[in-house]
Symmetry: C2
Subunit: 274 residues, 2 copies
């Protein structure tokens, strides 16, 4: 049985990490993160690379969550509170009534991450994607299509930001990722590990439908608007998704889904022995 | 030159339709809609099926928008105001500083809409999709891949809701759509006009990569969670997008993008003379 600990006082020090959720989102949590909602909690407890430290749950939700709570590792406290206390702790109406505090897994060195992947692998490399909805949506697609890892340059937002976790329906907790230091030579890093680099760009030289999948494929995505840096485009194979008429705009998360489906099912590589 | 009319009083009756934007979003606008932001304004003024009635623009934005404003039809007033007046009118901080009031085009009869399409056509049919982000995202993909029309059942939200327009980057203003009366036999309607009906479902009988495009294709999408009604699935061809491992969740807008790309470029029909 999990340790269920009722909380009556919003200022109780045991639930201090949950206080003023939105303000703390902005300043960061030094190795910790907050996850919210039942679907995300399930990912955190069953499929996450990261560790749950505690839970804070509305009293009215506890019964329904009990099967999940009973599987909690020893020593993870479940704090419960009435809705008014919860709202006072979080600093806004917490309709979902489910929060978890997690500790980030250590991020691997980029070289160690890439060299540890199979001979046949797909990674995503994100450049300058600062929108939490887009990063969350990209990770959701990465999990759905079995992407092996995600690299994020220093212009990307944090995949463990609360909203990014939520939009990804927990995928940012599951898919291995590494944040690259500013100035990292992304293309060089990928090439060093035998990844064929494929940059998505509206002006790409090859239409996606004609692309065959390399055994080790790295898919590079930039932000909507500026796109990938010219220095990256110049060193990689550029691929476009043709569009109708003058409407030249696909969401970057949707783009990732289209390309990953293509690489996974339309143009898979010859089968190889690993 | 457009008529530029400075507004100093948030209660000026000429800008009454812009008042309390969010509250009015909820109750609806009886044949009118509000569009916001520069990208959406461009769609409204250059590619929309609907009519602009007036604009309300922050003074500081007018100069940059002048090329667009100069192309306005005669008799469309451009109201301008300082930021404080704008915020007081809208009822929240209007950072974008650009609002437009539009009048909905009359919706065609569903039979008239479908019979007027070419021999080779793709339509989307949405069932129970009540989320504005998803409806907006689906329309964005519809515009990007040249979808001919969108049918929405009575459980869907309004594509001309402010947020849906914004998320679609104006595509809901461009792509023809019709909202079906409750109780409409959607599958019967589509079959009557020679559309092959393709339902997306995680349990679909055919994987998308094996699907050939019919000349007249109707793609049916349900909401995340409940999906399409069993009565619809039973009468249509069901198609699935295979996913990795246990992560069985694609966003419905992303799904629409993947399927539309497939139908447009991977499995196009034999070319036909129209």
């Amino acid at each position: 049985m999990p340790a269920i600990i009722p909380i009556d006082d919003p200022l109780d020090p045991r639930i201090a990490p949950y206080r003023d959720v939105r303000e703390r989102d902005l300043v960061g949590r030094e190795g910790l993160f907050i996850a919210e909602g039942a679907v995300v909690l399930r990912s955190l407890l069953t499929a996450s690379r990261h560790e749950a430290l505690s839970l804070l749950i509305a009293e009215k939700r506890v019964a329904a969550l009990m099967p999940m709570l009973e599987a909690l590792p020893e020593g993870v406290p479940v704090y419960t509170a009435g809705q008014a206390v919860l709202d006072a702790v979080a600093g806004f109406p917490l309709h979902r009534g489910i929060l978890a505090l997690g500790r980030r897994a250590a991020e691997p060195e980029p070289d160690a991450l890439l060299s540890g992947l199979g001979r046949r692998a797909v990674v995503l490399a994100l450049c300058g994607i600062g929108n939490h909805d887009n990063v969350g949506g990209i990770f959701r697609n990465a999990a759905a299509f079995g992407v092996d890892a995600v690299l994020l340059d220093s212009g990307c937002c944090d995949p463990l930001y609360r909203k990014a976790i939520r939009v990804s329906v927990g995928a940012t907790l599951m898919v291995p990722f590494v944040r690259l230091a500013a100035g990292t030579d992304l293309v060089g890093l990928l090439e060093r590990h035998g990844f064929a680099t494929i940059s998505l760009s509206p002006a790409g030289s090859v239409a996606l439908a004609g692309l065959r999948r390399p055994e080790r494929a790295a898919l590079l995505l930039g932000s909507e608007g500026p796109g990938l840096p010219a220095s990256v485009l110049a060193r990689t194979r550029t691929v476009r998704i043709p569009m109708a008429g003058s409407f030249d705009s696909l969401n970057v998360a949707t783009t990732s889904g289209i390309v990953l489906h293509h690489l996974s099912f339309v143009a898979p590589p010859e089968s190889v022995s690993e």
